[in-house]
Symmetry: C2
Subunit: 396 residues, 2 copies
């Protein structure tokens, strides 16, 4: 049979980057290209205990159908926790538990976007989200990043130029891939600009709890008196990605539509995982756990920074990062980035070419992304040394 696919799927091109990354899990490879939490970051012992208890005492609750909106005690706890700790959520907001935060991007796009409508996003931005937007045939317009976050002048220009803008997608904390954190004045400016143009903000915050330097900044959602921000939260980096639990906090009217869409996608999220997240948050010293995670990543990022200081200077530079899992490195002009990444893979060190994170992969880019949570300390040191030598070889 000759299959006839939908327009939206035909438009999803296999990425050139995938070819480069294909070998990143082969044996002997140093994986600086992943985004997995560090193995010692998982609260495995607590999850084991909670899981045993709930399957002993309330197995049917964990195994039976649940409601689409999510496990009620988890929703209630998150509502209070996010309000008290982060001033996120108002009387007019509601909360939806999703199958990972990726589903927030999917459901909001499904709820708001017609084919051809525009999504504004940071350039570079997280490839997973960009691909979700593409799957709904969004027109992506990238707004350049500066050291303190999105270029708000360029954002204003885009807001004035583009038609049918449905939302701005931003990762304000330790952005993937750039590691950049948006400054407080820019957060306020972004909120004011979008409010003035009647454009929703999709604020994705998977790494916010992983700050290991500097001071916490309020989320854009915390300014949201007008109901224009949908906040995407995730347990993937702070409890476990394999559980696939995330959540959206947004205006009731929007969340209600997202609930209908979720019902058609997967009915509800895995119940066991939702209950484990709830009990872990409420019974296991959640703040101390977050402190422990920050300590793990502070230490690991230190290993990376020390290695980069030794082996990357002066050829390769990197953006300042105060949290998260990634470093964004930039090559001098005389080294072709894609050639560099390919040559690195041949030397068994995998990083992600920066073009993967652009709205148009064919645009020029001299940066690449390094992850420091997945590799061991030794892999990090060895990988950076190999990349540093490679840059020196390739520099003319």
């Amino acid at each position: 049979m000759k299959y006839q696919f939908s327009d939206r799927v035909q438009g999803l091109k296999p990425s050139a980057i995938r070819e480069i990354l294909k070998n990143s899990s082969a044996p002997g490879i140093i994986p600086l290209s992943a985004g997995n939490p560090a193995p010692d970051a998982f609260p495995a012992e607590d999850i084991r205990r909670i899981s045993a208890e709930l399957l002993e005492h309330t197995p049917i609750e964990a195994l039976q159908y649940g409601v689409t909106e999510g496990y009620t005690p988890l929703r209630e706890h998150l509502r209070n926790y996010m309000k008290q700790k982060h001033n996120v959520g108002t009387e007019n907001d509601d909360i939806l538990i999703t199958s990972g935060a990726q589903q927030v991007m999917d459901l909001l796009t499904k709820t708001l976007l017609n084919e051809g409508d525009t999504v504004l996003c940071e350039a570079p931005s997280f490839i997973g989200s960009l691909n979700t937007f593409r799957s709904y045939r969004a027109k992506l317009r990238g707004i350049p990043m500066e050291e303190d976050g999105i270029d708000t002048e360029a954002l204003e220009q885009a807001l004035e130029q583009e038609k049918n803008i449905k939302y701005l997608y931003t990762i304000p904390n330790f952005q993937n891939p750039s590691g950049i954190t948006m400054s407080l004045p820019k957060r306020k400016k972004v909120y004011e600009l979008c409010k003035a143009h009647n454009v929703i903000i999709l604020e994705d915050n998977p790494y916010g709890d992983l700050r290991f330097a500097g001071e916490d900044l309020p989320s854009i959602k915390s300014f949201d008196t007008e109901g224009i921000v949908v906040y995407a939260g995730s347990f993937s980096k702070v409890i476990s990605p394999g559980m696939r639990v995330g959540y959206a906090i947004g205006p009731k009217e929007v969340i209600q539509k997202m609930v209908v869409c979720k019902q058609g996608e997967d009915v509800h999220s895995n119940m066991w995982a939702q209950i484990v997240c709830h009990r872990f948050m409420t019974e296991c010293g959640y703040e101390a756990h977050l402190d422990r995670l920050r300590e793990i990543y502070r230490r690991k990022s230190g290993v990376l920074l020390t290695a980069m200081e030794h082996h990357f200077r002066p050829l390769i530079s990197w953006s300042k990062f105060e949290g998260g899992l990634f470093a964004w490195c930039t090559l001098p002009e005389d080294i072709d980035m894609l050639e560099f990444v390919k040559a690195g893979t041949e030397k068994k060190v995998c990083v992600v070419p920066g073009t993967a994170f652009l709205t148009d992969e064919s645009e020029p880019c001299s940066s690449f992304r390094i992850n420091f949570s997945t590799p061991t300390d030794e892999q990090l040191q060895e990988g950076i040394e190999i990349l540093g030598k490679l840059a020196k070889e390739m520099a003319t």
Copy 2:
């Protein structure tokens, strides 16, 4: 802010049926309207043991990111199991683990359907799937059901009349809501007709293992030499719906596109649940477990049948059902079905009005659906008695 929703979401009307069902979980209600597996059908003890072992010995595998296609040992086992037991799957097929079978409907629709394209479905059919198709703005064309399954003459007519038919959606075994099983000759005829018209078949089989009378029939997918059938399997009725694990077996080319779509929706399905399903299938006497389930539902359906014989005759009739979870009951012409269902709810007995399962809810329908897996024996007996009395009161 005034929210502007996408066309597809604006088209999703809140259903009149929801209003009727709103009270179905209130205290004191006899819930004959649900579709939940019976509480004693869950292999809770095995799941508890497997879960404890895997979180003890391989916690990182259960908690870390996985691949979109699904947990490899589960995919491999299912491939062999479905081939050996049901002759489902060929060299040209691949398998994708999904977040419940509902996601198979979603991903296949996303992969094949442009707005306005046609989906053929049985009339009546499962409301959850119909709503998924609607969320992609499918044009639904219902094909009437006969005692031995879909009306193949009407199907042939529709295949000739409709434009841009992307697939036929069918539940051949103990269909939800009608309970009807498609005969072997009709299965062959449906396959031949769709093959001749180059139309894919989406074969949804959540209840196939729950046969408690009659003989098993081969699935339509087992005839599939041409790669025109996508088979949707589910663990919701045989292990646990709260885990949200289902799977698609279909042509590689189609599955590959579905994988890309799934990546944008939820990255991958819950790892813990996938591992539990694999180990339960391979280590816990799966066939004996299925026998035990059939015995549970054989007994429960017997309670329902006895009660209906006593209290429904001669006013209310029902379709023959040899498995599954539902009975499809039909009122005499002089009783208005929606009035009857409403009056039942006031007497605290909830059933689902048949109109909920039509492509057009405003069409006339004198049937309603009863579920016998969720209520207790006492609730079943009491509920049927109340409904029987109600019919006698309402008959003129």
